[in-house]
């Protein structure tokens, strides 16, 4: 339906898309909250899938350029920084908690999260290393 609307020439600009995405997020939040309050786990999941699909469909119909090489480069830098900060702090805090034997479970969770992230990084690095960029 959205694509049909877009083909008719009713394309959104960036501002309209922001309002559209924010409205969908608000509805998703409300539905998820209602689902949680009623003890229904399926409702938030369905709301999430529908919401994300609607946002993705809406994004296709935006006439302006939403992302370009500069935004990709900024994302790359931000992701790298997040990775470095998270892995370092999670490993440090995790091992400290384990060593002190205080909240050891949280410590193991943090340490394993750091390890999982390292493994994922290595996997993606080797994948993109082979792929033409």
């Amino acid at each position: 339906m959205l694509e049909k609307y877009n083909k008719k020439g009713g394309k959104m600009d960036r501002k309209k898309f922001t309002i559209y995405a924010a409205s969908i997020c608000a509805i998703m939040g409300a539905v998820a909250g209602y689902g949680v309050s009623k003890g229904n786990a399926l409702l938030p999941a369905i709301a999430f899938v529908i919401g994300v699909s609607l946002i993705a469909l809406g994004k296709r119909g935006v006439k302006e350029v939403m992302e370009d090489e500069r935004t990709y480069r900024i994302s790359e830098k931000a992701s790298r920084r997040i990775y470095q900060v998270f892995v370092t702090s999670a490993a440090l805090i995790g091992t400290t908690l384990i060593a002190l034997n205080k909240h050891a479970e949280a410590g193991y969770t943090l340490a394993f999260s750091a390890c999982a992230l390292l493994v994922l990084y290595l996997l993606f690095y080797s994948y993109y290393n082979r792929k033409a960029l």
Partner: protein, 65 residues
């Protein structure tokens, strides 16, 4: 890196928005390019040069520092 994009754009009476649309980037990217705060990819540099009927060498002045 310094650029002469603003100068060439003025020559063709082109706005930042128009140039951005022609090369397929956001207007902010053109702003940062003109300020010399963003080093473009070879592909983007080529596209901008082509739209402004010039060469990459004419448009971008490489500063060693």
């Amino acid at each position: 890196m310094k650029t002469r994009i603003k100068e060439f754009r003025a020559r063709y009476n082109m706005t930042q928005e128009e140039l951005a649309k022609k090369v397929g980037v956001r207007r902010e990217t053109i702003v940062f390019l003109e300020k010399g705060k963003y080093n473009p990819s070879l592909k983007l540099a080529y596209k901008v040069a082509r739209v402004l009927n010039t060469t990459i060498e004419e448009l971008f002045i490489f500063d060693e520092e």
